[in-house]
């Protein structure tokens, strides 16, 4: 066996591997590829068009130590979220009622309470210079810092956001550690990126989707 001949031939192997591996599929490429809408309903609950109260703000859920330093949800996005939720509920036959100045409901207590909130998370990570097998796809548009590491690699960070829509029934008996039973919840999650127009469009589209995939809310 000619060892030299073997060595001359076997260099083809790493070249081959690199060529084929360079074609590894990369998954999502656009911001919207990572958007999801999830809804969940309470087992056995009977939905029907009812009256509801909904606060006119969309607070941001942040850890207690960040509450003073965190920026609130953009006013325009708050207005849009509230508008879209109210429009979809109205289409289903739900009626929004408002308290008077003293906080009472003249026409009677609401049957349901709708609470909208938002979460913003900054995700960070590190990809080393050696290739680990391609399980870190998906967020290449948001590479952050590029520190120098002697063996290569880089850090990344990206922001993701979630809009939560909670429908609570105050007449349901709640556990001791809970104020109200949530009978329906929607979570809209995705990357925070793109211009304000894109984000507004996605908010509107996915709130519509949340109600579209929950036809049981109409009671039929």
């Amino acid at each position: 066996m000619n060892i030299q001949k073997i060595l001359l031939r076997w260099w083809v192997l790493p070249a081959f591997v690199i060529a084929i591996y360079g074609c590894y599929p990369g998954g999502g490429e656009e911001i919207e590829d990572f958007d999801i809408v999830a809804t969940i309903k309470k087992e056995g609950y009977s939905f029907s068009p009812k009256s509801y109260f909904m606060p006119d703000t969309v607070p941001k859920n942040v850890p207690e130590d960040q509450q003073e330093t965190s920026d609130p949800v953009n006013d325009e996005y708050q207005r849009l979220i509230l508008q879209e939720v109210e429009r979809n509920l109205q289409t289903l036959g739900y009626t929004r009622i408002f308290p008077d100045d003293s906080g009472d409901f003249p026409g009677g207590e609401p049957d349901l309470v709708i609470v909208n909130s938002a979460i913003e998370i900054t995700n960070t990570g590190f990809i080393p210079g050696y290739w680990l097998g391609g399980w870190y796809p998906g967020y290449p548009h948001y590479w952050g810092n590029y520190p120098w590491y002697p063996w290569g690699g880089f850090t990344y960070n990206y922001k993701s956001g979630t809009i939560l829509i909670d429908m609570g029934d105050p007449d349901q008996e709640a556990p001791e550690d809970r104020q109200m039973v949530i009978v329906w919840q929607s979570g809209i999650n995705g990357l925070l990126g793109g211009d304000e127009g894109d984000i507004a469009r996605r908010i509107s589209t996915y709130i519509d989707q949340a109600f579209k995939q929950s036809p049981y809310l109409s009671g039929t």
């Binding site: 073997i6 999830a38 809804t39």
Partner: protein, 198 residues
């Protein structure tokens, strides 16, 4: 002391002397394509041209050879935006599905026309498959990675270009057995290889 040194050197020299035999070893570098079947096809129904394999073996006689093969293929499918219902939970989004298959097998070949320019053969392999299954939806990932037992039958041919180089065309059907955390898989390989003879 001299005997203690001499004996292992003697054994090593006998082992190395086999390497001096003309053309009874082979290696194959191959480009491997895959076509899902069975339960794998239920998860991903698209074929893939991403894959490579490496095989190294030794001829027992003119008709038989044994070897070791390691290869990699990736199955991939991106689905359009769709809605998935799981009990009381409903999720809408785009799914990206991956399966990475890494077989490591012992092989045996039977050559039908040794010495001919075109040498067809039948073969079989037995060993282990590492199957890494992943589903991405939104910013979330579900992973299921397991080792499986598996085997394959194979049919192909060597087209001898020179005394020590040949093209290899192969069709191989892989069966990957079920384990408690993972279903069985099956898929077809069509392989184009570059065979080097030593």
């Amino acid at each position: 002391m001299k005997k203690k040194i001499f004996f292992p050197i003697f054994i090593l020299s006998q082992f190395l002397s086999h390497f001096s035999s003309a053309q009874d070893y082979y290696s194959i570098l191959a480009w491997s394509t895959v076509y899902p079947t069975g339960e794998l096809n239920d998860f991903i129904d698209k074929s893939s041209f991403r894959g490579f394999g490496f095989e190294f073996g030794k001829g027992i006689n003119d008709n038989f050879a044994v070897g070791l093969i390691a290869s990699w293929n990736v199955f991939y499918e991106a689905s359009d935006y769709d809605t998935y219902v799981m009990g009381n939970l409903t999720i809408s989004g785009k799914q990206y599905r991956y399966i990475n298959a890494f077989p490591i097998m012992i092989t045996g070949h039977y050559f039908i026309s040794p010495g001919s320019r075109i040498n067809p053969y039948v073969a079989g392999g037995i060993g282990t498959y590492r199957m890494n299954k992943k589903t991405d939806i939104g910013l979330y990932t579900s992973v299921n990675n397991n080792w499986h037992f598996g085997f394959f039958p194979e049919a192909g041919l060597f087209f001898n270009i020179t005394d020590d180089f040949a093209l290899n065309l192969t069709a191989r059907y892989n069966y990957v057995s079920k384990v408690s955390q993972s279903p069985s898989y099956s898929y077809l390989n069509l392989v184009l290889g570059f065979a080097f003879l030593y």
